[in-house]
């Protein structure tokens, strides 16, 4: 295990270094920079600013500067907001996390319950209905369903706010503030839950179907164990086992925000920050965000492999 971990970690380091170089070059290739979008500046002033920010240096030199700073835990200053990138991440990431954590919770609860019942009654009308809804959830363009729900619930029915995290100009505190945030997050959470539930329910359903056919389930029934206990005690526990690998894959989604949902619902999360910075070519921030997701992705993959090993000792790493 120790040798395996050190091998994996060194490979992760190499892949991350290669990925960061590639991302840096790609961002450097994207047309325009932070300064060229400002039409108020004269040509001389632009050249002067590029000199100050080091934007006129060769790409590799800039990359080296970025890398050495990043390794020391300094992701640089956002050009547009004049604040350290890490401080900005710390402000925005928790808004994203709030959405992600609540929707992940609902997604898992719904997926487990619906998946188990659908598997138990395989080929019943309920199961068919679930399958159709699952396919529906997997086929909706996320931005479209977001717009659609805003149109119905916010514009037509005036039940929920169309976007943002609080009402503009509101300075409610305490319980009133919490209520306001809950109201604002209902729609984005609903969309994220809907989008996530599809594939996860399918996953639990097929795992459960595999487990129900096993001999030990028949044994449990033969012993006269209550059906609910067979299902949720014996079967579900074993059906959940492979799902432990999914925990790692949730990692980027938990902290990386959702670009599309946050944009549609104007949610002040890290994904929205990224889209805004992309328009402004705020390189330090773009670079920081992309690397953050890349790091979370590789760590998540490693985590799921290790967790799987712990959960199922038969698996060799």
């Amino acid at each position: 295990m120790g040798a395996y971990l050190s091998k994996r970690l060194s490979y992760i380091m190499i892949i991350l270094a290669a990925a960061s170089l590639m991302i840096f070059c790609l961002y450097a290739m994207t047309p325009g920079d932070f300064i060229s979008s400002n039409i108020k500046l004269s040509a001389e002033r632009k050249a002067e600013l590029r000199e100050i920010y080091g934007l006129n240096r060769p790409v590799l030199e800039r990359y080296w500067t970025w890398l050495t700073h990043a390794l020391r835990g300094d992701l640089g200053y956002s050009l547009a907001q004049q604040r350290p990138v890490l401080a900005l991440f710390n402000t925005y990431i928790w808004n994203s996390f709030l959405l992600a954590v609540v929707s992940t919770f609902f997604t898992w609860v719904i997926a487990v319950i619906v998946g188990v019942v659908a598997a138990y009654r395989q080929y019943s009308w309920f199961d068919t209905l679930v399958m159709i809804v699952i396919f529906g959830a997997m086929s909706i363009p996320s931005f479209f369903i977001g717009l659609f729900l805003i149109k119905i619930f916010a514009v037509d029915l005036h039940l929920l706010p169309p976007g943002g995290i609080t009402t503009t100009g509101s300075n409610a505190v305490g319980w009133a503030h919490v209520q306001e945030v809950i109201k604002h997050m209902t729609l984005p959470v609903a969309v994220m839950t809907l989008l996530g539930t599809g594939s996860l329910t399918r996953y639990f359903r097929s795992n459960m179907i595999d487990v129900i056919r096993q001999d030990y389930i028949r044994t449990a029934r033969a012993k006269g164990v209550k059906e609910s206990k067979v299902l949720f005690g014996h079967a579900l526990r074993n059906a959940m086992l492979p799902a432990i690998t999914l925990v790692g894959f949730e990692l980027p989604a938990l902290f990386g925000g959702s670009l599309i949902i946050e944009k549609i619902f104007n949610w002040p999360g890290i994904g929205q920050l990224y889209i805004q910075s992309f328009g402004q070519r705020d390189y330090p921030l773009l670079m920081g965000f992309t690397m953050l997701i890349a790091i979370l992705t590789v760590i998540g993959t490693l985590l799921s492999d290790v967790l799987y090993r712990i959960a199922d000792p038969r698996v060799k790493l």
């Binding site: 892949i15 363009p141 659609f148 992309t290």
Partner: protein
């Protein structure tokens, strides 16, 4: 089932006979799955409507007509007109041509690339495998949406004419999608090459080309067909996201994604849902039909994966 068709067949003639009966059996099984057939019918209808439908539309020239702009759906214009007086129904169908073509073409590209690279990597192992898989790892590490954003922005910088943008969008989507395909094919290759029928080909002294193209890849065809089908839906969704953000195919070429862009205008969004709802529903219906059909196909062609 598939290894039998490849290994047990002694001669060429017998091989085709075994193969065709396998395919006939699959078709028969598929026809029993009503849901999958319904999906297939919807996909075919969608293709027909988009590629033939506009020919019967009196508004197919896509001409602007300021006198009838922003009309709600009525008898002349079943889905109303847009801000330039163009018929929305005709535009949705024309957009469908682009979206479906992009989805189909980028699927073909990424599946071909992924299959080829995955097969080479799993078959030859060693250095080839290392190089291909490290590149795949690299592309999988970088989050795909930012990658698509960057490529989209580059696209605008290269001053690609709008009518050619769709070809580049296809390339971009397949570039992002091939690694996962390659990984899966590689895994399958690694297990297939250890099977008895492959030892037999070694004993027979067959060369690599023949082993790869006559004995290994035919066994993967059912799996490839299933993944390819499901990939079309994914590609249509990705294209719509890119175009919605103005980074994919841009106006005046309509696609389902960039038509929904009308919703970014507050008045159009609130007062004129006929501008952005039909393209969104078209995406939804097409992709759900493709997914249901693909799932039915999987049950038939790849029974190991059966639910």
């Amino acid at each position: 089932m598939s290894s039998v068709s490849g290994a047990a067949a002694p001669g060429r003639g017998a091989k085709t006979a075994v193969k065709s009966s396998m395919w006939r059996q699959s078709v028969r099984l598929l026809l029993k799955n009503k849901l999958a057939i319904a999906g297939l019918v919807i996909v075919v209808l969608m293709f027909l409507a988009c590629f033939i439908g506009p020919m019967f539309s009196p508004y197919a020239d896509n001409k602007t007509n300021m006198r009838i702009m922003n009309r709600a759906p009525n008898l002349q214009h079943w889905l109303g007109t847009d801000k330039l007086g163009r018929d929305v129904l005709t535009r949705v169908l024309l957009a469908g041509r682009i979206s479906l073509t992009v989805g189909l073409a980028s699927m073909v590209l990424s599946v071909t690339l992924g299959t080829l690279l995955g097969a080479l990597s799993g078959f030859f192992r060693g250095v080839v495998d290392q190089v291909i898989m490290r590149v795949a790892d690299l592309l999988l590490t970088i989050p795909s949406l930012p990658l698509l954003f960057i490529f989209g922005a580059l696209l605008s910088d290269w001053k690609v004419p709008p009518e050619n943008r769709m070809y580049i969008v296809m390339l971009i989507l397949s570039l992002v999608n091939w690694p996962s395909m390659a990984r899966m094919i590689r895994g399958q290759m690694l297990s297939l090459r250890e099977r008895e029928f492959m030892q037999a080909t070694t004993v027979l002294g067959l060369n690599n080309k023949r082993k790869l193209f006559h004995h290994l890849l035919p066994n993967l065809i059912p799996l490839i067909i299933v993944i390819a089908t499901l990939n079309i839906g994914g590609a249509i969704l990705s294209e719509s996201v890119l175009s919605f953000f103005g980074l994919g195919v841009t106006a005046p070429t309509p696609t389902w994604g960039n038509m929904i862009d009308a919703a970014n205008n507050l008045i159009d969004f609130q007062e004129r849902p006929w501008l952005w709802m039909p393209p969104g529903l078209s995406i939804f219906i097409t992709v759900i039909a493709i997914n249901i059909f693909g799932d039915g196909l999987r049950d038939v062609l790849d029974p190991k994966q059966k639910r």
